[in-house]
Symmetry: C2
Subunit: 179 residues, 2 copies
């Protein structure tokens, strides 16, 4: 299971609370690994039991206090060891494509709306990724530690562009044969 490793990866960037991680999953690493907040909090407990992360309470003013986790040296070596293991097959599931597969057996008007919504959300994410790229990788030479993050972001950009082009072409083609 890669949720624990994804959390460790996040914590190599900076120490974070469960709440921070949940937001980070929603806006950044969520592109290739997503998790809900209960799952993150539970996983952090397990990681602490294993000694892969350490926590301390941080007193805040104007906000509730938080528990900040940082990766330990044991956590770092666990991450390194894991990285050598075989990569599992990427998981991809999309019930929009399930509908499309049986286009003659679904509500075509609804499908059209669903594709328009998908197009909109792809455009929104593309925008978001462009902003991250401009903010973090704007200078010509990207230093080594950020190279991987930049390449991941580039994949995300290509991915969303692919969806946008595909949705547009599908919308054009289903206009013709809609009742």
């Amino acid at each position: 299971m890669a949720l624990s490793e994804t959390i460790l990866v996040c914590l190599t960037e900076r120490p974070m609370s469960g709440y921070d991680l949940a937001k980070f999953f929603d806006t950044s690493v969520g592109f290739f690994w997503n998790a809900s907040h209960p799952q993150i909090y539970r996983e952090l407990k397990k990681l602490e039991q294993r000694g892969h992360v350490a926590s301390h309470r941080e007193i805040q003013t104007g906000k509730p206090n938080k528990i900040v986790y940082e990766i330990t040296s044991d956590g770092r070596s666990a991450l390194y060891d894991w990285s050598k293991e075989a990569v599992s097959e990427p998981v991809f599931k999309d019930d929009l494509l399930v509908r499309l597969q049986a286009i003659e057996h679904v509500d075509k008007a609804a499908l059209r709306v669903q594709i328009i919504q998908r197009l909109a959300s792809a455009r929104q994410r593309l925008d978001q990724y462009h902003h991250i790229r401009d903010r973090r990788f704007s200078e010509g030479a990207v230093e080594a530690p950020n190279l991987g993050k930049m390449m991941g972001l580039e994949l995300g950009i290509e991915y969303e562009n692919g969806w946008i082009n595909w949705c547009e072409s599908v919308l054009k083609r289903i206009e013709h044969f809609e009742a």
Copy 2:
């Protein structure tokens, strides 16, 4: 949950056994919804209890007998009703991208091999998709019932092409800074 609907979609094409479905998931619909054979057999039981599919025993010679399922009219209307519901967010998970995100904290030689393997499997799937396209959608005009399947296949082709280009560009870039 879209596993039951994916099975119904498969059965709109032709009646199938659990074994057939498992192979179909591996080679066709698996691109956008995957499932293991125990999951498929259990789901078929549930679908039959709901009356969305009906089964009959088919005696075979030279092979063990099989239980063939077909979609019922209740199943068809359940599929139609489901198609109007909101599409859930597509799920994508890939621990190769998790490794890449923390490139400074992983075994870079192993990562390089993992990317080469990903490139190979993307090329293999692309090949497979090209074969399906040539076999099923070779004639100029695709009839309406197949239009959705063809558009899904086109997305798969673009998807694998995207991975291939991306893997190649990543391999070039990590050669430079490898120890």
